[in-house]
Symmetry: C2
Subunit: 352 residues, 2 copies
């Protein structure tokens, strides 16, 4: 595995660094050796994330890292933030210049293509280094149109949706995938964002940077590709945004175009406003209401997973009990308890 | 107005030629002088469309038109079909070569960019002619991200949605816009497809060819632009696809991101299967069910408009009565009766 450093420009301790959070949790594509973040510098990235030490030190700057780690061969610097509109933050641009000067290539998941920033592109060319812009849109000719062939996929597909964006849908999907694999099943996760690809998921596409007319076709094609090559027992589909997030409502594609057999719904019980829309006069819908809306699309919500950011464990347990009583389905806390409790439920959906 | 000819490659008498149908109904951007369609040749385009003569003759080929109309200065040939996946049909490519050879420029609304077909691009360059690819995707830098500023728009916005694609949402929106203007109101239509632009709508964007992350932002930006420049009494938003069309579910953006105050729902009472998905095991939802789903998103369906393709007038009237009884809202037949009956209802929504 290539060694990589993640840049978060002072945002590591916020929801904007969800790409970095995913990479700290684990990746099969890159070995993360350090994080650059002036605000959280001096700590361990795992401890900042969830109190769990992971041996990933945080440095103030790339220069500081390089000065003290002359023997480490780092191949990549990864942009680890997801900004509104996908613009590259200025402090990260400075670090990217240092990276290229130090002979390190760039992996970028923002909309703004680093390969189109002349200073950086020229520097990379001069040094023979690669700039990988994961979100660079595919052209019309490379894209798939939805065909209905999704019905050929004989294994159940579980969509991991959420009541908002940046709630941990990808992390939950990854947990479910690993838990089922450890229980002896052959399962796969279909990624739909840049972080999923960075973490090493093999099948998927990048939702945000796909031309709208081809979203359902690219989703179908990724699932078909996975089915034909792997013949898994089950697939987990990484959802995007939320059905009623006004800044980009999303979710029906996973139910209808990907023909999901069940939904697992991620929710934060105390987050009342959509991410980055604290001033907007619309609240995140109540969990029960979201479940009803999803089920109107013709699929059952089989479980709820709780994001507990800014929720105390005691409060979270109370919400867990209340929701279970109201909805009559399992409600689990993935980060605190894992997702093993859902294995019997998922097992039952696999027909042999 | 520039004179233009519309090419439909033998598909004029099918739902695939909805771009041509719109242009035959009317355009403020182009004066349509003829249509090229080998299947419907010899007839009047208006008569084929809806029995109404419009003085737009149909020819077998562009060559045939040119031979008999040497005195007419045609500026543009417009590709008048919407194919699955947006690929340019071969018979139309042949006609486009003839067009360029005759000194006529090209307007294309398919995903496949005509300006990237080497033979045609070279021919156009050699003859100093323009190829306008309306759907050519905008780059990240030209796109708007959703901001929530939609709340600054003080006039009501009515979304014209449908239970499927190719049902006449754009035509109904256009009818509503004209009816309200004739009744003395200042109204605007926000286009979201290539045909709306071709018909001369001033504000809008092309949904299908926009990067998914910017759909809601482009919609908001078009509405804000219209509001700031025109300060209309009301806007009509051209919807896309249908909320539960598996080949590309769509609609929530118009309700949530565009903050619509009402929905007018277009429906064909006898079309049971989604367009081009006759073999797919999923039916178009019942009208009442679609109304309930839309209203779960927090907006009222204020009227239903019926598409009567392959429905007899007698049948259509029966459906009209039944739906009115069931739903308790006006149900109108735009092509048969116009939409004037909805004016009082819309008038009441305009607060002064």
């Amino acid at each position: 595995m290539d060694k990589a450093i993640v840049l978060t420009g002072g945002l590591f301790d916020t929801v904007h660094a969800k790409t970095a959070h995913g990479l700290v949790r684990g990746s099969e594509r890159f070995e993360i050796v350090a994080l650059i973040d002036s605000v959280s510098a001096g700590k361990d990235a795992g401890e900042v994330l969830d109190g769990q030490h992971r041996g990933i030190p945080i440095f103030t700057s790339l220069r500081e890292f390089i000065a003290s780690h002359t023997e480490v061969m780092v191949s990549w610097c990864i942009v680890g933030v997801a900004t509104k509109g996908g613009v590259l933050p200025e402090p990260i641009k400075v670090e990217l210049t240092d990276a290229l000067n130090a002979g390190i290539g760039i992996v970028n998941g923002l909309h703004e293509p680093v390969s189109e920033i002349p200073e950086l592109a020229n520097l990379a060319a001069a040094r023979g280094l690669e700039i990988v812009d994961i979100r660079k849109p595919k052209s019309f000719r490379e894209l798939n149109f939805w065909s209905g062939r999704i019905k050929e996929v004989a294994c159940p597909k579980i969509a991991v949706l959420g009541t908002d964006c940046a709630l941990g849908k990808r992390t939950t999907a990854r947990f479910l995938n690993k838990a089922m694999q450890q229980a002896g099943f052959k399962t796969e996760m279909i990624y739909t964002g840049q972080t999923g690809w960075m973490q090493g998921a093999k099948y998927g596409f990048i939702f945000d940077s796909t031309l709208n007319d081809f979203i359902s076709g690219e989703l179908e094609a990724a699932i078909l590709d996975c089915w034909e090559n792997e013949k898994p027992d089950m697939m987990f589909l990484e959802g995007q945004s939320g059905l009623r997030n006004p800044s980009g409502p999303c979710g029906a594609e996973f139910i209808l175009s990907a023909d999901a057999q069940g939904v697992i719904l991620q929710h934060n019980p105390t987050r009342l406003k959509f991410k980055s829309l604290e001033q907007y006069p619309m609240d995140i819908p109540a969990l029960e209401d979201e479940v009803e809306l999803i089920e109107r699309y013709g699929v059952k919500v089989i479980a709820v997973t709780l994001n507990t950011y800014l929720v105390s464990l005691e409060e979270a347990r109370q919400f867990q009990r209340t929701y279970e009583e109201k909805l009559g389905i399992p409600v689990v806390l993935p980060l605190e308890d894992g997702v093993d409790r859902l294995i019997p439920l998922l097992k039952k959906m696999i027909v042999n």
